[in-house]
Symmetry: C2
Subunit: 197 residues, 2 copies
């Protein structure tokens, strides 16, 4: 089957959104590898943001991640937070994309994440020896960028305003869900107890 998305297909949010929604294993049958080769880092970050939007549209936390091969620039894994959708207490953008990628050598890859990595995802990207992490939103400072760098992983900041606006809206509208996603349901219970007295 000839791929529908080819080298000359113009890059737009609409086509990147199709790529975000396609299962990773379906990309080889639907997208010419040459299309991925022309994508910039900002384009891959936008795919991560569109995954965050997908998660938000499902009623979840809007955080996405994409794992890309450094040489071929093909997508090896991608996903989004599924705290709500899978009743999953720690599946963030990074964990989701890494789970999707499976057992590969991450030292030749870059992970694009729409949000500054949390205290669990930061050591995970180090322990799996990623070559590079690209962060799309540091307005919520996890403070883990320097920790990741100290482990020999390159960290670049490449903010995406669409992703920042989406996450800002989410955390304003859903502070409890945001709190649970970072620190667990225990934190929500503690905050409510503190607020009531």
């Amino acid at each position: 089957m000839t791929p529908y998305i080819i080298k000359d297909t113009p890059v737009s949010d609409a086509v990147l959104n199709v790529i975000a929604h396609l299962p990773t294993k379906s990309l080889a049958a639907t997208v010419d590898p040459a299309f991925f080769q022309k994508l910039t880092d900002a384009d891959f970050m936008r795919i991560a943001v569109l995954l965050a939007q997908k998660g938000y549209d499902e009623g979840g936390c809007p955080i996405g991640g994409v794992v890309v091969d450094n040489v071929s620039r093909q997508i090896l894994g991608k996903g989004h937070n599924t705290l709500v959708q899978e009743n999953h207490p720690y599946n963030h953008g990074e964990t989701s994309a890494i789970r999707d990628a499976g057992r590969i050598d991450f030292s030749k890859t870059t992970i694009f994440t729409t949000l500054s990595p949390c205290d669990v995802c930061a050591p995970l990207v180090c322990a799996r020896q990623f070559n590079r992490v690209v962060v799309g939103n540091i307005t919520t400072i996890s403070g883990n960028e320097d920790f990741i760098r100290s482990k020999g992983v390159q960290v670049d900041i490449l903010e995406d305003q669409m992703g920042i606006d989406l996450y800002t809206k989410f955390r304003t509208d859903n502070p409890d869900l945001d709190n649970e996603d970072w620190k667990g349901l225990a934190e929500v219970t503690k905050s409510k107890a503190a607020a009531c007295c």
Copy 2:
């Protein structure tokens, strides 16, 4: 339906193995809560070891975990490493049991793990604010027990010789798989490159 496993059922590895294999959601329909209330910490650790054995029998890494409510002593989540079985690059005993438990308040629970928590699982049990971690094997020193304690989580060592023997056999027979489980496929590639030159 009257539960098959009742308060007076004698505790044995055979019955604990049934509990290890039953889906967590099935326990309420098959085991009287009073049976769990008489189990000791060593019994819960043995269930975690039997989960490790289940994983090993499936061809995977023998590491298990169990999340238990501190007051009711009921099992809220359990699981084992699925690196091989699910092609899952970071699903350890702890992550598996926490995923199984879902969105609960972990501050009222204890996690039993057959192996000293890794650099990812240690911050995870802290970030989800577990009350207590019980470790069944510190022969492989992750060195993370003090880190976990520094975050206010109680850590107890309760070694289980069956679990230690199983893990020792596994890592002797499968050094590459053991290496991948801790540090990713990148580490295996590096080790092989170093060994060949």
